[in-house]
């Protein structure tokens, strides 16, 4: 997991994203949210929705289950509550179909 500051913020998830790994991924995501808030990505600035968009890169995700989807969805909802918009990106096809199958398309703002 790394978060790059820049034009648009980006964070990556990789490996298996499932019941057996969520406990390990959760602190990193929490950290990411905290840093975004510290850096002022959110806040009362009205232009935040454009400049503060976070890209969540799923290139390296090898597998995902319902528990993993839930964590990701909760993360996205946490961002939203703080007025940070986010978008999943580079989703491998297999992961995308699993997300669809588990019913998380709308939570992830994906169209199928």
């Amino acid at each position: 997991m790394n978060t790059e500051a820049g034009e648009s913020l980006k964070t990556c998830l990789d490996g298996e994203c499932s019941m057996s790994t969520v406990a390990g991924k959760y602190p990193a995501l929490m950290n990411c949210l905290a840093r975004l808030l510290d850096s002022g990505a959110s806040g009362e600035r009205n232009d935040c929705s454009t400049s503060g968009a976070l890209l969540v890169d799923l290139t390296g995700v090898t597998d995902i289950d319902a528990c993993g989807c839930q964590l990701l969805a909760l993360f996205l909802s946490g961002l939203k509550q703080n007025n940070i918009s986010a978008q999943l990106t580079n989703i491998p096809d297999t992961i995308r179909s699993k997300i669809h199958f588990l019913g998380f398309d709308s939570e992830f703002n994906l169209s199928h």
């Binding site: 406990a23 991924k25 528990c67 989807c69 909760l74 946490g78 199958f101 019913g103 709308s106 939570e107």
Partner: protein, 707 residues
């Protein structure tokens, strides 16, 4: 987090337990159908039942993450599916193949449940064998026999696709709010959804609770809920079935949106109609209702069960689910304890009331009598919860007999009578081994080969009958064969050879008893079927440990009957209460021969030990006060009462102060809160609320020898 991690394994095991139990039930059901198949093959219902058993195991295994178990079940299911569609004909050799597959699945189950060793090559072998049949399109190479075994197929059934479409599709709306622990339980929702998708057209939408603080979540706790729509011909029972392992009743809301989807989709404004459905069509359906719902019952899962309510059809799962509940044995035992308490309280009340004038307190006495009746009834009902039908044990024998007969080259028919006879769950577990041994004995020793039977003027096919019945307060189980019968001369010769005391002028009955002597075996050759060092003595010991008795009767040329008689339950014992000093003891009635006041001339001393002379035998006297280091009123054998006991031929006379009463006592464990007490088999609570120890006669013999 660390704490919940620790709990994790325990929780998981607890939830998995449900799957293990269900899976074992499915396997047993499958086996039961397989061994009872007629020669011409399974009918449609039987085939469906086997298929659904395999399917349920596969589904459960997938959901619970036991992927390895889905391998064999998947191939098995595919093959069965092809057979149901009459693409592959049935042949008798398939029964063995399916039984073998069942064994492999059992092995995998045991591997997950008990950590038992799992032979990977067996899994691969059976999967390959099953796959081979699928690929070949039949098991038997000769095409002629294959087509002969084929059941003529009515046109409309052969094309099951059209059958399905004849039933109109229904649109179900499901709201699934899983248990927060569902992830931790290791349940794979993707597999669950895949199961649903097999039923029809499925759309899934996950939803999160409105506000969650991301910083205070537990990522392993499920907070999501899922809304699904499913368009299928299947009934709601089938949908509930899929959720069987994962959701409680209140965690799954299920309703039909419309009776006929096609009508709606024909309308332009389908969405509006779907959401604004008239209330009479919108029903919440708990499982209990489902079997009564004609639409649900008629359109089975994937529309293949023509009649779910037919005998042997798979309707069992849903119809039984509403009429029974699963309760832990500890809960039942707690209930039994509490009722036992009530009985004692009632006895105390009755005792107190005896001093009251019966005329003045007529009403009280009448009420107390009523109370007594009610408590007795209650006790009986509660005890009956622990009772299970003996068919659980009997059902394992058809397969064993079938296999052994093939191995031994004998023709054997197994008959069971009184399958519904009920006995205590604890007894069921213990009676299995002795019965297995007896049936093996019949197969191996008692029944003759077909040639020998024909030579003796009998039918070539021998018969073994297992018969259970309740006679009075006991359960009687007979194992009857129509074989050669016991050979008196042979037994006597063998006994002499083994140094077991015997004489020619013993009665038949006494001679038959000899085969219970340790190390006795009349088999001319030791086979791997019986006679592996364990003999009838083990059977006898097992039965006696359940307070049971074994009797043999035999007629040369006509067969043998072994009769096991058991108490109804392990929780209650018929006993005689005796007094020694201030204490009372219970002696199990089944070990007592008689009680007597010895005549002075019958008492002798041998090597400093007292013996009593009864009918030509010198029987050692055990003075209970001495053995237990306590005070007694009577210390002279001549002044007290002697109780003759006999266990496995070992005899002794117990010296007690007085005989008190004969009664049924509820057995309680001393070890729950204390340690094992030598010489006792537990304790009971008497009518006055005091504790009395129950004597273990075997261990008394041991104590005497040590002294």
């Amino acid at each position: 987090m660390t704490q919940s991690d620790q709990n994790n394994n325990i929780d998981l095991n607890q939830f998995n337990q449900v799957f293990f139990e269900e899976c074992a039930e499915h396997l047993a059901e499958m086996e039961q159908i397989l061994v009872s198949l007629p020669d011409e093959g399974p009918d449609e219902e039987q085939l469906n039942a086997i298929f659904r058993a395999a399917h349920s195991i596969k589904g459960g295994a997938g959901i619970f993450g036991f992927q390895d178990m889905t391998v064999v079940t998947h191939v098995l299911e595919s093959l069965l599916d092809r057979m149901r569609n009459h693409e592959i004909p049935f042949s008798t050799a398939m029964v063995d193949l399916f039984l073998e597959a069942g064994d492999v699945i059992s092995m995998q189950l045991a591997g997950h449940r008990d950590g038992a060793f799992v032979r990977q090559e067996a899994i691969e072998q059976i999967s390959a064998k099953l796959q081979q049949v699928i690929d070949a399109g039949s098991l038997d190479a000769p095409a002629g026999s294959a087509s002969a075994a084929m059941i003529p197929v009515p046109e409309e059934i052969a094309q099951s696709g059209t059958v399905a479409s004849e039933h109109s599709d229904q649109r179900y709306e499901l709201v699934f709010t899983p248990d927060p622990d569902i992830f931790r339980r290791g349940i794979r929702l993707e597999n669950l959804f895949a199961e649903l998708e097999e039923l029809g057209e499925l759309t899934v939408t996950a939803g999160l609770p409105a506000t969650t603080d991301f910083n205070s979540i537990d990522p392993e706790i499920c907070v999501c809920s899922w809304r699904m729509t499913l368009v299928t011909t299947a009934g709601e029972a089938d949908i509930r079935d899929i959720f069987e392992f994962v959701a409680d009743l209140d965690q799954l809301q299920l309703r039909t949106v419309s009776e006929n989807v096609r009508e709606i989709s024909a309308s332009d404004d389908s969405k509006a109609i779907a959401t604004v459905t008239p209330p009479e069509n919108t029903r919440l359906m708990p499982t209990g209702e489902s079997a009564a719902d004609p639409a649900g019952a008629a359109t089975g899962r994937r529309a293949y069960d023509k009649n779910e309510l037919a005998a042997g059809a798979y309707g069992r799962r849903t119809s039984e689910a509403e009429s029974s509940i699963r309760v832990g044995v500890t809960k039942v035992d707690q209930l039994i304890n509490q009722v036992g308490e009530l009985v004692i309280t009632q006895l105390m009340l009755a005792q107190t009331a005896t001093v009251l004038d019966p005329v003045l307190h007529e009403n009280l006495h009448r009420s107390l009598l009523q109370l007594e009746r009610n408590t007795r009834d209650l006790q009986q009902s509660v005890m009956s919860i622990r009772l299970v039908p003996i068919s659980i044990v009997f059902s394992r024998f058809p397969r064993m007999v079938r296999e052994l007969a093939a191995k031994l080259g004998k023709q054997v028919e197994l008959k069971t009578v009184g399958d519904t006879t009920e006995l205590d769950k604890g007894l069921i577990e213990k009676i299995t081994d002795p019965l297995t041994h007896l049936v093996r004995n019949c197969m191996d020793h008692a029944l003759e080969t077909p040639e020998a039977r024909i030579a003796a003027g009998k039918e070539p096919c021998g018969t073994i009958t297992l018969r259970a019945s309740q006679i009075g307060g006991r359960i009687v189980i007979d194992v009857i064969d129509d074989g050669a019968g016991l050979n008196r001369a042979k037994i006597l010769a063998k006994a002499a050879e083994r140094g077991i005391p015997a004489s020619d002028n013993m009665s038949d009955e006494e001679v038959w008893q000899l085969i219970f002597a340790p190390g006795f075996s009349t088999a001319e050759c030791v086979t791997d079927i019986s006679g592996r060092g364990v003999g009838m003595d083990v059977v006898l010991r097992n039965v006696q440990s359940m307070s049971g008795r074994v009797n043999i009767s035999s007629e040369p040329g006509n067969g043998t009957r072994v009769t096991i008689s058991l108490p109804l339950t392990l929780a209650i014992l018929d006993g005689l209460s005796v007094a020694v000093g201030q204490e009372k003891f219970i002696i199990p009635l089944n070990s007592i021969v008689e009680s007597l006041q010895p005549a002075p001339e019958s008492l002798k001393t041998v090597n400093g030990g007292n013996v009593v002379h009864v009918r030509g035998e010198y029987i050692p006297i055990i003075a209970l006060y001495e053995l237990f280091n306590m005070d007694a009123l009577v210390k002279e054998p001549g002044k007290g009462i002697l109780i003759l006991i006999d266990v496995e031929g070992e005899k002794a006379a117990l010296l007690v102060d007085a005989l008190l009463d004969e009664h049924q006592v509820v057995i309680k464990s001393i070890e729950t809160n204390y340690r094992k007490v030598e010489g006792t088999a537990g304790a009971t609570i008497l009518g006055d609320g005091r504790v009395a120890l129950i004597l273990d006669v075997n261990s008394l013999f041991r104590m005497r020898k040590q002294k």
